[in-house]
């Protein structure tokens, strides 16, 4: 337990130091201040072989074996330089991000490029326990890659520092660096319909639908019994002539297809549950090509339709409560 606590303290301090050392930017070029180099376990194994060779050299007083062991030692040293060189000068830039729903993976597009006349081989870029891409730049100057990172909750998802590392060429040494890019993506709430709420909401929809249609005047919708107060212009005279009963024609407006998703009208407990439900509804209405508006405390989005509108609504849901 104390060790765990200690390692937490250490991780915290390390992260604080790293974020101070590598502040967020859109673009990062890896240079000597950013690259760390450390021998791998293969180096340790090679060192063991060198030790055995060294014992052979000493016991048999053999100059050539001395030479061989020194050469292998030198190989480890030069591997540091080669591996460092493979990473140095690499530039990584954030291009764009794709939003996602909570629990899914946010996708980030990045550009990786290297200076002219240089090659970069087998450089892995990614997050630990997440997505990793391996990039090789040989004849081309730059390449675009897509990396995904899992998300848990809605809101603004800020991707952690990217890790870039390479063991090329010989695997004796790993050179790595962190890139704290401004990688941000909007995470929408996970869409989840609440059954009971849906029923209510549907009733609500209908109510709204009726109220709206009564005011309609443009498109003919049907015929119903006359009620007192109906405009004489809407009386179906032809029917009256046939049957002798009064019927009224009904009309609907385009606006009568408008549906409102109203936060306050939702009989659901819990902010996130409400948001998830609204999110599901937005998707549903979008799919059905409805016009819909969104009412959130402090936010009102007028009824619209289309992809941009959907994005606006989902973003509003994602960022709900952010500024308070």
């Amino acid at each position: 337990m104390p060790i765990k606590a200690l390692s937490n303290v250490w991780n915290f301090a390390l992260n604080a130091w790293l974020s101070k050392r590598f502040p967020d930017t859109r673009e990062i070029t890896l240079d000597i201040q950013r690259i760390f180099v450390i021998p791998t376990r293969l180096s340790a194994a090679l060192l063991f072989a060198v030790l055995v060779l060294g014992l052979m050299a000493i016991n048999f007083q053999n100059s050539l074996i001395y030479g061989l062991s020194f050469w292998l030692l030198a190989l480890i040293v030069i591997a540091i330089f080669f591996t460092y060189r493979n990473l140095a000068g690499l530039t990584i830039r954030a291009i764009q991000s794709q939003p996602c729903f909570a629990g899914e993976k946010a996708v980030f597009e990045l550009e990786v490029r290297c200076p002219d006349n240089q090659t970069k081989t087998a450089i892995s870029i990614g997050w630990p326990f997440q997505d990793v891409e391996t990039v090789t730049l040989r004849h081309q100057h730059s390449v675009h890659i897509k990396l995904s990172h899992s998300t848990r909750q809605r809101g603004r998802f800020k991707a952690p520092r990217l890790t870039l590392f390479t063991v090329y060429p010989i695997g004796l040494v790993v050179a790595w660096s962190y890139a704290a890019l401004n990688l941000e993506s909007i995470v929408y709430p996970a869409p989840r319909l609440q059954d009971n709420a849906d029923h209510q909401q549907n009733a609500d929809d209908h109510a709204m639908h009726g109220a709206e249609s009564a005011d309609g005047s443009t498109d003919f919708a049907g015929v119903r019994d006359y009620r007192s107060g109906d405009s004489p212009r809407k009386i179906h005279w032809a029917a009256y002539a046939k049957t002798g009963d009064l019927y009224s024609k009904t009309f609907v407006d385009y606006a009568s297809d408008e549906r409102w998703l109203d936060w306050d009208a939702l009989p659901i407990a819990g902010v996130e549950a409400k948001l998830s439900h609204l999110c599901a509804k937005v998707l549903e209405y979008h799919r059905l090509h409805y016009q819909y508006g969104l009412k959130l405390p402090g936010t009102l989005i007028k009824p619209q339709h289309g992809d941009a509108h959907k994005t606006t609504c989902l973003t509003a849901l994602a960022l709900f409560g952010e500024h308070r």
């Binding site: 048999f60 100059s63 050539l64 001395y66």
Partner: protein, 675 residues
């Protein structure tokens, strides 16, 4: 997994697999000269098996099959007659495992084991041979292994050429660092000793002399040892490289007495100290200091100018003023020696040795015995007797030849002295000692080498097997053992020049060799060059041990101290790293921002410390407005700074550029200092 959280591809690609096999084959091939050859087919079959498995044609062998294969392999090694506890066995087992590993290399980890074992086997190869060619081959094998190490880590296939090139470049760049370590890293004395080789061939002079032996040896142009004199080189005719003393004659063959015969037994009684023979020596004259590098002979006998008074190296002082290696010479060995050839040895000889030096077989060679007695009676002194015998060799029709007729084995001395009169050093030395002993003068045969070939390139003396020689030592009153070479009476060229000159007419020099570089004049020049290269290799590379290192560092640095060495090594490391940086292009300047942008960034940082953060979306003008509103005290400076920056960005004017930069700098420092 190199970094936590990043999985690593564990499989070796097909190309990586082929690489590994090529590297294995290149490591094992030269070892087949020293270890059972059938290990190579074992590797090839294992490899073929593995490739079939990779192509899906065969199943991966189960543990039973692998166990059975391992058992057969070890049984095979034992059946090959390798001693159970020996280096050969260790090396063979390593090779066997190395070969079998080819069957089950699947993962990267297996590949790494193979490569690291390969490096060890290159080391093992150097135990068996240390020639320049072997070393060059070792470099090749190392390049292959490193190439394989690169190849097995690649997920995507790359061309074989690029891997090999990369590996070669890396090793080449390592070379200077390796050399610095080689020269400066401390050398240690062996921690424990291990038996090196279990069986081996012996070359060079054998420890007995039947007349045919030296004749055979004189047909060999191999190098016996090479000598570097620290001061002037002694005359050619003084270069008697004394090896062993032969006291026992059975009527046909000269050999050592039984109790002297086994060098291993003798070594136990000998000491590393000179003191046990010091009282038998009357040191006189000038000392000759020299270094000798003995080629591997498989024997303990060493050759030096007698008597050796001081020696440094793995050798002992022998009873007869000879020197003996502590262990059989199985790889080139260097000694530093000081000899005093003018010294008198055994002026008062112990009785037992006296008796040994008079031994003769009870019968046979009656005519020679009678001749000796007759001549001795007419001589005034032992010296006079010796002179008269030598005169006989000179004036009688004795003939120096490498093609002597066969002699009667019962009476070989008689047959030679009175009938054939044709022979070479062994005949002359043997018959001379026989005559001395017959007359009652203690004498013995000495075998070794005489002369040598001076190499002007390397300033060293190369002594070859064809320089093998036999001569005599006679014990004279008050003078001790005196060297007498009867051959020089018959063929003075042999001693003044060399064997080739002595048998020029006969043309028998190296006649058994169909192709001899030594005989051809032009090729002989090439051979001398090669000799010289080899000598330097032996002396400066293979012979670089604790002593050589101390001497070399002293010559290099003047004074050897830890501080000195640290400074030199530190400087060399820095230089090497600079060279690496330049070669690898690590000092290439990264494209930098123009100075005005850097100053502006600094400006933003300073203002941020004062509490105003510039958002990425704000233009300099917007930021200026916000900043001046919040920090009225800086109003003028901030406005002016932003104006200058904008001017430089949008209306650059080369003429006033520096001026404006200066203004920006001045304003910046003002803003920074002001509270």
């Amino acid at each position: 997994m190199f970094i936590k959280g990043f999985p690593q591809d564990k499989q070796i690609t097909y190309a990586g697999m082929l690489w590994l096999l090529a590297a294995q084959l290149s490591v094992m091939s030269p070892l087949a000269f020293y270890l059972p050859v059938w290990l190579i087919p074992v590797l090839l079959i294992s490899a073929a098996w593995r490739i079939r498995v990779m192509k899906g044609r065969t199943e991966q062998p189960g543990i039973v099959v692998i166990g059975a294969l391992g058992f057969c392999g070890i049984a095979g090694l034992l059946a090959s007659g390798i001693a159970l506890v020996s280096l050969d066995m260790m090396a063979s087992l390593l090779m066997l495992g190395f070969a079998y590993k080819a069957i089950e290399v699947i993962q990267r980890r297996d590949g790494i084991v193979v490569v690291l074992t390969g490096y060890l086997l290159v080391g093992v190869l150097f135990l068996y041979s240390q020639s320049i060619l072997t070393a060059m081959y070792g470099v090749f094998a190392m390049t292959m292994l490193s190439g394989a190490l690169i190849a097995i880590q690649q997920s995507a296939q790359q061309s074989i050429g690029s891997n090999l090139k990369l590996s070669a470049i890396m090793l080449l760049l390592c070379l200077p660092l390796m050399l610095v370590l080689f020269v400066f890293a401390p050398r240690f004395a062996p921690l424990w000793t291990l038996p090196l080789h279990s069986n081996h061939a012996r070359t060079g002079i054998s420890d007995q002399m039947t007349p045919g032996d030296i004749a055979n040896l004189s047909q060999s142009e191999g190098l016996a040892f090479s000598v570097k004199f620290n001061r002037a080189r002694p005359d050619q005719n003084q270069l008697y490289w004394r090896g062993m003393v032969l006291n026992y004659f059975d009527g046909n063959t000269w050999s050592q007495f039984q109790e002297e015969l086994d060098p291993d037994v003798e070594k136990k009684t000998l000491q590393t100290s000179f003191s046990n023979i010091a009282d038998r020596l009357d040191k006189r004259g000038e000392g000759i200091e020299y270094d000798i590098i003995y080629e591997a002979s498989g024997q303990s006998w060493l050759f030096a100018l007698a008597p050796v008074v001081s020696l440094q190296g793995e050798a002992l002082y022998g009873r007869n003023f000879n020197i003996i290696a502590k262990h059989d010479v199985r790889e080139p060995m260097m000694l530093k020696l000081i000899s005093y050839p003018d010294s008198r040895r055994d002026v008062a000889l112990a009785d037992m040795l006296h008796q040994q030096a008079l031994q003769l077989p009870p019968d046979g060679n009656a005519a020679s015995r009678e001749l000796a007695v007759r001549l001795f009676k007419t001589s005034s002194s032992p010296q006079d007797f010796i002179d008269s015998i030598l005169n006989r060799y000179r004036q009688d029709a004795f003939y120096y030849t490498l093609r002597p007729p066969l002699l009667d084995p019962q009476h070989s001395i008689d047959d030679f002295l009175l009938n054939s009169k044709k022979g070479f050093c062994a005949h002359y030395a043997g018959s001379f000692v026989f005559l001395m002993r017959a007359a009652g003068i203690p004498a013995r045969v000495v075998i070794g080498y005489q002369g040598g070939e001076w190499n002007n390139n390397g300033e060293f003396l190369a002594v070859h097997h064809y320089d093998a020689h036999a001569w005599a030592e006679v014990l004279l009153k008050n003078r001790g053992w005196v060297r007498i070479d009867p051959t020089s009476m018959v063929a003075p060229q042999r001693v003044e020049q060399n064997l080739q000159a002595a048998v020029q007419e006969e043309g028998s020099f190296l006649e058994a060799k169909i192709f001899s570089m030594t005989r051809n004049q032009w090729l002989n020049g090439v051979r001398k060059q090669l000799d010289s290269v080899q000598y330097r290799w032996r002396r400066y590379v293979l012979g670089y041990d604790t002593r050589q290192q101390a001497a070399f560092l002293k010559r290099l640095l003047g004074e050897v101290s830890v501080g000195h060495i640290a400074i030199v090594v530190g400087t060399l490391f820095t230089v090497i790293i600079l060279i690496w940086g330049i070669v690898l292009g690590l000092f290439r300047k990264q494209p930098r921002e123009a100075i005005e942008h850097r100053l502006y960034r600094r400006f933003c940082q300073i203002l941020q410390k004062k509490g105003i953060k510039r958002l990425p979306s704000q233009t300099p003008q917007q930021f200026c407005r916000i900043a001046t509103a919040q920090l009225p005290a800086f109003n003028q400076d901030i406005t002016k700074f932003t104006e200058t920056y904008s001017t430089l960005c949008y209306q650059p004017d080369r003429v006033s550029y520096q001026q404006q930069i200066d203004i920006m700098k001045r304003l910046l420092s003002k803003i920074r200092k002001q509270r």
